[in-house]
Amino acid sequence: MAVYEHTYRRYTGAVTPQWTRFLVVARYIFKDVFQSKLLVFFFALCFAFPLACIVTIWIGNSEIVEILETGAIDALDIDAAIFKAFMWVQGGCAFFLTLLVGPGLISRDLANNGLPLYLCRPISRAEYVLGKISVLAILLSSITWMPGFLLYALQSHLDKDNWMTENLGVLTGMFVGFWVTILVLALLILALSAWLKWRPVAAFMMVMIFLTGSFISLVLNGLFRTDWGHITNPFQLFSIVWSSLLGTEIPAGPPVPLAWLGLAALAGFSLLMLHAKIRAYEVVR
C-alpha cells in the first residue's frame, strides 16, 4: 500500500536499545554541522599542526638528518615538552571549534520550544545533554587526543630505544588532559547556548569568560604580588593541569590541586546552569 494511503496504525515492531537514544540527538546534529563550509574548512585546518608534527617526528628519527649532523637533531628531541606544545595548539583549535559548533546546539531547540518534544519521549534530560555533549566530544576528540595518540604511536614505532615505555606518562597525560579540556569547553558552551538564544552572543560570552578571566588574573597578581590570581584564568589552569599530567615544568599559578578545583568549579557551574535551563516546561516566576 502506498504511504499516502496508510491510516493511523500503532508501531509494533522492535525498538532500539534505550542507551542508544542519545546518539540519535548527536547524529542529527552532525549532519547539520558539516553543512557549514566554514566549519569544514576550519576542521580540515585543525589537522595542519598534527601533520607538521608527523613530519617533525619523522625528521627527528630520520637517519638522513642524523648523517648531516646539523645539530638539529638535539633540538628535535621528541619528549613531553613537544607534546605539551601539541596540546596547546590543538587545545586552541578545540576552543575555536567549540565556538563554531557549540552556540547553536541547545539554543536552536529552546528558540522554538522544542525541548518538550524531546523530553516527552523516553529520553531523560541527562541523555539529552549527553547527546549534545557527544557532538563536541567526538569532534574535539578527532583533533586532540586522537591525532596525539597517532603521534605517540609514530614516535614509538620510529624510535628504536625504549621511548614508548619511558614516555607512557605522556600518553595518559595527553588523554586525560584533553578529556578535561573537552568536558570543560563542552559544558561551558552548552550552558551558554542554553541561556543565550542568540548564537553570536553565546560565542562572544565564551570568549569573554576566558579573556576576562585572564585580565582579572593579571590584576589580582599585580595587586597582591602573587601568582594565585591565575585561579581566575582558565588558560593558565589548563596549562597547569596539562603540565602536571605530562610531567613538564609547571607554570606559575596556584598549586595543581587548586587548578583542578578551578576547572571543576567551571564545569560544575556550567552543569548547574544546564540543570536550571534544560526543562520540558518554562518556569514562569
Binding site: V3, Y8, P122
Partner: protein, 322 residues
C-alpha cells in the same frame, strides 16, 4: 477495561502554589476531554503524567506505569502535542518527524517510513520537504500532531490542539482527532478551554478548577439522564391527560392548570406524549425539552452546583468512563 490513567491522591505544588490537589480516579475512556479555565491545572496534569513535574504527594500511573519510577516506560506509550508552537528550526518536516520517531525508539528505516505516513495522515504530505519555520500556524499544529503520532502511541495528549486555527483548519483538526479516536488503537486526552472541541471529540469529560477535579462524567450518559426532564403547556383540560401519562410511568407535577412538569422513564420516547395528547384530544402548545449542553455542565461545575453524575475526588476505583 484496564485503566489508562490512574490518579491516587496526586498533588503537585510549585512553591506555595498548589497546582494540583489530591486528584483521585481511574480513567479508561477512549476520548477524555480535560476542561477548565486558565490556570485550572490542565497542562500541569498532562505534564505530571509525562513525568515533567514531581508529585508532592500521591502517585499517577499511565497504563500501570508509575510516572515517577517508570517514567520512560510510561512516556514510550504516550504521544504529546504541546500547546505552544514547538519545532526545531532549520529542519524539514519529514526529518523532524523522523528524528522524533527515532528518539522514541523506532529504528531509522522504519522511522523514515512512518514519518512520511504520519505527514500524509495529517495532510502535510505535499509539504513534507518544507522547513518547519516556513509553515503556517495550521500546518505547524498538524506537524505537532504528526510528531505525537509517529511512534504509534497508545495514549495521545493533545493540549489545546485547535489553538490559533481558522474555522476550516479547526474543522480538519477536529475531524482528525475523531478519526484517531475511532481507530480504537489509541486513547485521546484533549485538553481545551473550548467546550465545542471537547463536545465534538470526547466521550468523557473531566473538569478541573483550581487544581481539583470538580466534575467528571460520560457525556452521553449525562445527556441521556437529562432527557427525562420536560415542561409542557397544554390547551384544554389536562386531568385525563395527566392520568394517562402517569399510567405510562411518568412522574407528573401540574404547575398551573395548563402547565405540567414531568419526568419520563428512561425507556419512554417523547413521541408517546404526542400520541396520548392526540388520543385525549388535547393540544400540546409548548414542550420544553432541555438537554444539558456541555456548557451547562461546565457552568454547573464551575459554580459548584452538584450535578447528577459522580462527583470527583470522592470517586475512586475504575469505572467505564470518567
Amino acid at each position: 477495561m484496564d485503566p489508562v490513567i490512574e490518579l491516587d491522591g496526586l498533588s503537585v505544588h510549585f512553591g506555595a502554589v498548589k497546582a494540583l490537589q489530591n486528584l483521585k480516579g481511574a480513567f479508561s475512556g477512549r476520548a477524555i476531554g480535560l476542561l477548565g479555565p486558565n490556570g485550572a491545572g490542565k497542562t500541569t496534569l498532562i505534564h505530571t503524567l509525562l513525568g515533567f513535574h514531581k508529585p508532592a504527594t500521591g502517585t499517577a500511573r499511565v497504563f500501570g506505569n508509575d510516572v515517577r519510577r517508570q517514567d520512560k516506560a510510561a512516556r514510550a506509550l504516550i504521544g504529546y502535542m504541546p500547546e505552544r508552537d514547538s519545532f526545531i528550526a532549520g529542519m524539514t518536516a519529514v526529518r523532524f518527524i523522523r528524528m522524533m520517531a527515532e528518539l522514541s525508539g523506532v529504528p531509522a528505516a522504519h522511522a523514515l517510513e512512518r514519518a512520511h505516513e504520519a505527514l500524509f495522515y495529517v495532510g502535510l504530505g505535499e509539504s513534507r520537504y518544507r522547513k518547519l519555520e516556513e509553515y503556517s500556524q495550521g500546518m505547524k499544529q498538524r506537524a505537532k500532531l504528526a510528531q505525537a503520532l509517529v511512534h504509534g502511541p497508545r495514549l495521545l495528549f493533545l493540549d489545546e490542539a485547535t489553538n490559533g486555527l481558522d474555522p476550516p483548519a479547526r474543522e480538519r483538526m477536529i475531524e482528525l482527532i475523531r478519526e484517531i479516536r475511532d481507530t480504537d488503537e489509541v486513547h485521546v486526552v484533549l485538553s481545551s478551554h473550548l467546550l465545542g472541541d471537547v463536545e465534538e471529540c470526547c466521550e468523557d469529560v473531566m473538569i478541573l478548577k483550581e487544581g481539583e477535579i470538580v466534575y467528571h462524567c460520560n457525556l452521553e450518559e449525562e445527556r441521556r439522564a437529562n432527557r427525562k426532564f420536560l415542561e409542557l403547556e397544554l390547551s384544554g383540560s389536562s386531568d385525563d391527560y395527566i392520568q394517562a401519562v402517569r399510567g405510562l410511568g411518568c412522574e407528573c407535577a401540574p404547575h398551573t392548570k395548563r402547565r405540567l412538569k414531568m419526568v419520563l422513564p428512561p425507556e419512554m420516547e417523547i413521541r408517546e406524549l404526542y400520541r396520548l395528547a392526540a388520543e385525549k384530544q388535547i393540544e400540546i402548545r409548548h414542550l420544553d425539552y432541555k438537554k444539558d449542553s456541555l456548557q451547562d455542565i461546565f457552568l454547573k461545575a464551575m459554580n459548584g452546583v452538584p450535578a447528577n453524575s459522580q462527583q470527583s475526588g470522592a470517586t475512586e476505583g475504575s469505572h467505564g468512563g470518567l
